[in-house]
Amino acid sequence: MLHRTTLANGLRVLLVPDPATPVVGVAVHVDVGFRSEPEGRTGFAHLFEHLMFQGSESLEKLAHFRHVQGSGGIFNGSTHQDYTDYFQVLPAAALERALFLEADRLRAPTLSEDNLHNQIDVVKEEIRLNVLNRPYGGFPWILLPPVLYDTFPNAHNGYGDFTELEQASLDDAAGFFDTYYAPGNAQVTVAGFIDVDETLALVEKHFGDIPARPTPVRPSFAEPLPGAERRQVVPDAHAPLPALAVGYRLPDPAGDLDGYLAHVLLASVLGDGEAARLQRRLVHGDGLVTDISAAAGLMGSLDARDPDTFTITAVHPGAVDPDRVLDAVDEELDKLTAQGPTAEELAGQVARWSAGAHQENDRVMYRMLGLGARELLYGCAEITDELPGRLAAVTSGQVQAAAASIRGSGRGVLLVEPAPQEENA
């Protein structure tokens, strides 16, 4: 059962009681992601997420981590295309403390030069770890968007360019906070072992006196569909094998949820499990690729507003021409365009999605984050619980239409090629 309200300052509140668990989760979702960061400041939304852990009016540096963990809890934050989340999961005894900790930084974070420079260094290490010092770093979430998209919000690197991260200033941070972290641009989700009325009173007590500020007008990130195929080759000094990613545009989930879900099932029919079309054809039949996968959503399904990306990614031996891989993918899409998946194929994929939904519900953290993100993005947390039923209602004809739609549209093709070692230290 979901309970929602909005405080006088505009902060949205979503409560999700679950009497069976001994734990509680608190999440703050802020309606800004890396698509909204300004040109010249790539990576700023993520850097700012780090700054929000650096202390606030009532909490000196390190205190946030210490209070969460010293109360027996865990914490994290993450930056997505259209939102940033901050969350804690703790024994239920720590509910009020968790609300206090989240409210204090949403009200008055400590933005200091020392913390800014420290966290620029930390973020650079995060990027070295996940991108620069390993094979296939940023594949495909950083590398594919600039092939498929033309505008800065959709195409740029959300982790950020080192020189731009280094130029970030305290006033950039202050402006970003004042603009985007207004209470009316954020949402609190509380899930787990909670009493609804008591929790609502605690949310009001801790968040209620954050003054209202104007909320930013959310820009449209829409851009025209690509009319043709665009290609880009990127060298990778650490990669032993070539890789490729194909990106297509997805329908807008806010306007055409069933069309979007047909693409979700298309991805499953193509890539999920040993019986999936691309596994059978490219991995086992033709032996063209080492591994292949398909996904609706660059950072997960139902995790962004429009536009978002349908991806097919593969790692393949150097002896295989990437065009052979692309041709085989196109042939499989053509087959699905001519005749949709069988009833059994769809039923199996829907059953696995249902099982996955149950597993998500079984963990307070996942349930809270899933509901919170969908409430923020689409104003409809219920999508999470309705998903298995809505997927079950998707017809073979709708998946067929999804295949026809991506087959008939333009696309971005990224080719990652092993390259000689460069002197980039």
Partner: protein, 461 residues
């Protein structure tokens, strides 16, 4: 940032944002901790020797399965590790009555996924599915255990893929560091053979895979754990029914305990062009059943076992050398080892090593304070509660404990053991396990860039 919020100025300053008229506020106290009892685990040993553990957790209509088969190399140094990898990769690719696609279709129909993985110690089949599908899942599990054919063409294809995947894995700095660390810690012991070479994989024949299955994938000594929205007695009966035909005359083979790592200089592993270095230090520890374990757990948390640790606060939050630094216990046959792991920018490798040694020494010389111990204790107890609050976490815990002869009573008693640990016991654990001269390990990085700096500190082989 040009989004104006008023006509007069673009935004408040950072200093203005950080202050409110009311000023700092007090931290709310904690409420009452809620206990949720762990379920009873029903156990049974089948005539074929398989131990079955089943527990009810009906939070969602799912069931989790974990089958653990001890899978040590019968003849250390043999082709077993490569055979085991291919056996695991082809386990679900064919039986006398089903092919790869049929198996997956039948699993998908009940929302299930099952997968096999293997390491030098054990082969594990793990998965989950809708609870109502348990009979289907068990029937498929029985079919692959008793009747897998490891078809020639599947072995041939998986051989090619495995060679490609190994090439990708060995390009990862964390794999390079892990392999070097295992050598330094355990020498030639079979525990080090976590990933075969391409040549070893290529040499494996389908007949060897089938023979390996018959000889090693056996029930006696193995443990199947089932947790979910099921009646435990009925689940055990279903297992007895489904897996009765899985038999063998031999016992599953446990991996012999490796020698404990000896203290020594760190080995520098050259990775040209690295923009980051991997620091991996390791020393002896003790496992869960040891009386010193709870004190070690708290000492480890204070050192580097969670975010609010001395080491993390120093090299990340103060110095900015790393994104993450973590220390923790890794269980091995016969005990446990302590690992101290971080990845740091190349140009601060020596500085990070210096701070790491400093924090190790400081833990022994300036032992954890009462406040540090209380925070670690709360975290150990609370995070245990959180980790058990889902079917998968509970199944993994039951299976992991059973593998070393422990049961849920160990978990039930663990909060009390943590609460009973004294500051003196934590100080003793710090001295015993964290002395800087008790470690060995590796540094992986561009030796041309970092070698001179770290050698200047000493203790580099």
């Amino acid at each position: 940032m040009t989004v104006a919020v008023s006509k007069n100025r673009v935004n408040r300053s950072a200093a203005e944002i950080g202050r409110t008229p009311a000023g700092p506020r007090p931290l709310p106290p904690l409420g009452v901790t809620r206990e949720v009892p762990l379920p009873d685990v029903v156990t049974s040993t089948l005539p074929n020797g398989l131990r079955v553990l089943a527990a009810n957790r009906s939070s969602v209509p799912m069931v989790e399965l974990r089958l653990r088969v001890p899978f040590a190399d019968p003849d250390p140094g043999s082709a077993h590790p490569a055979i085991a990898e291919l056996l695991s990769e082809t386990l679900f690719t064919g039986t006398a009555t089903r092919d790869r696609v049929t198996i997956d279709d039948e699993l998908a129909a009940v929302g299930a996924d099952l997968g096999a993985s293997v390491d030098p110690e054990r082969l594990v089949v793990a998965g989950s599915g809708l609870a109502e599908g348990l009979p289907t899942i068990l029937a498929l599990l029985a079919d692959v255990l008793t009747d897998a054919t490891h078809p020639d063409h599947e072995v041939a294809r998986e051989r090619e893929r495995l060679v490609e995947r190994i090439a990708v894995a060995r390009a990862q700095p964390r794999t390079i560091a892990r392999e070097a660390l295992q050598r330094v810690r355990f020498g030639d012991h079979p525990i080090t053979r976590e990933m075969p070479t391409a040549a070893e994989v290529t040499a494996v024949t389908p007949a060897q895979v089938r023979a390996g299955h018959a000889a090693s994938l056996v029930p006696r000594g193995s443990i199947l754990t089932i947790v979910g929205d099921v009646d435990p007695a009925a689940a055990i009966a279903a297992v007895e029914h489904a897996l009765a035909g899985w038999t063998s005359d031999v016992d599953a083979r446990e991996l012999a305990a490796p020698p404990y790592p000896a203290a020594g200089d760190l080995t520098l592993v050259h990775r040209p062009g690295s923009v980051q270095s991997q620091l991996r230090l390791s020393g002896p520890a003790v496992a869960r059943e040891d009386p010193a374990y709870a004190a070690l757990q708290l000492a480890n948390l204070v050192f580097g076992g969670y975010f609010s640790s001395r080491w993390m606060e120093n090299i990340r939050e103060d110095k900015g050398y790393t994104y993450g630094a973590h220390s923790g216990m890794e269980f091995i046959p016969g005990g446990a080892v302590l690992g101290v792991d971080t990845d740091v920018a190349g140009d601060v490798t020596a500085a990070a090593l210096l701070e790491t040694r400093y924090e190790l020494g400081r833990l022994t010389a300036v032992p954890p304070t009462d406040a540090e111990i209380e925070a670690a204790r709360s975290y150990a107890i609370g995070s245990l509660l959180i980790s058990l609050d889902n079917q998968g976490g509970l199944a993994g815990s039951i299976a992991g404990l059973a593998a070393v002869g422990l049961d849920l009573d160990w978990l039930r008693g663990h909060p009390a053991r943590l609460l009973a640990v004294t500051a003196d016991e934590v100080a003793e654990a710090a001295l015993r396990f964290f002395a800087p001269n008790g470690f060995t390990g590796v540094v992986v990085g561009d030796a041309d860039a970092i070698g001179r700096g770290i050698r200047a500190l000493g203790g580099i082989a």
